[in-house]
Structure formats: structure tokens, C-alpha cells
Symmetry: C2
Subunit: 80 residues, 2 copies
Amino acid sequence: MLKARVTVTLKNGVLDPQGKAIGGALATLGFEGVGQVRQGKVFDIVLSTSDRAAAESELKAMCERLLANTVIENYSVAII
Amino acid sequence: MLKARVTVTLKNGVLDPQGKAIGGALATLGFEGVGQVRQGKVFDIVLSTSDRAAAESELKAMCERLLANTVIENYSVAII
């Protein structure tokens, strides 16, 4: 059994109104020196296999097909 | 200038219907051996300070006040 963490973030240059709103809210709350804020998603996935290489390639396929929109998002896969 | 990544995940025991739906979709797509899937959020934040310790405590304060709902969510802070 393996645990993996997939992180999906917006590509550079893609507008992120949600991140911008969060940055504005942090400034309103009095946090100073906050620059750009970008929001992404994280998926914690439990896999029944124990083959790390196979798991990694399967996770990448999951990202390509479902978890990430590769037109506007990057993904990274880490096995914990 | 520092870059930080804040990861917010649901606490154990908190229902995650979105994660369950993603797990179901992965199974429907033919990915075998997928166990529990939990979805979380990630925030990439640029800070103007270069004091790592100060940045870390400020980021924790941001999590407590805005980024995480500490009743149902855990957070972790990493300076990249």
C-alpha cells in the first residue's frame, strides 16, 4: 500500500481571481508584505500497489485524464 | 523575498464527498487499486520578508485566521 500526494497548480500566466481575492483578504486582515497568492489543489490518494514506479506512472495517467486540466494546470506527483 | 506553500487538508474522520466522487471517477476510468482519495487545498504565497522564522509564524497566523477552518482542517506550512 502506498500513499501519494498529487499537487495541481495553475500555470504561470493563467489568471487566478480566487488567489487574488485571498491576497486581498490577507491584506485587509493586516498581514503586511503579502505578494502574489495562487491557489491550487491537492489530492491524497491511497493505492493498493506497492510498486513505486508503477504507482508513479499510474498517478501521472490519472492527472492527465482526470485530476488536472493540462491546458492551464501543472501537476506534480509525490509518493509519501 | 520568500516563497511559501501552505497545504490545507481535511482532518481524519471528516467526510469528504468530493474526494469520494474523485475516487469513484478514477475507478470508472479503469484505474485499479485506488483506495481512499481526499482533496485539499494548496496556497502558494510570496512574502516580501526574508526572515524565515517571522514568515513561518505569520503564515501560521494566516492559516488560523483565514486559510484553514481549524475545526475540520489541518494545515502545514513550508518555505520553499
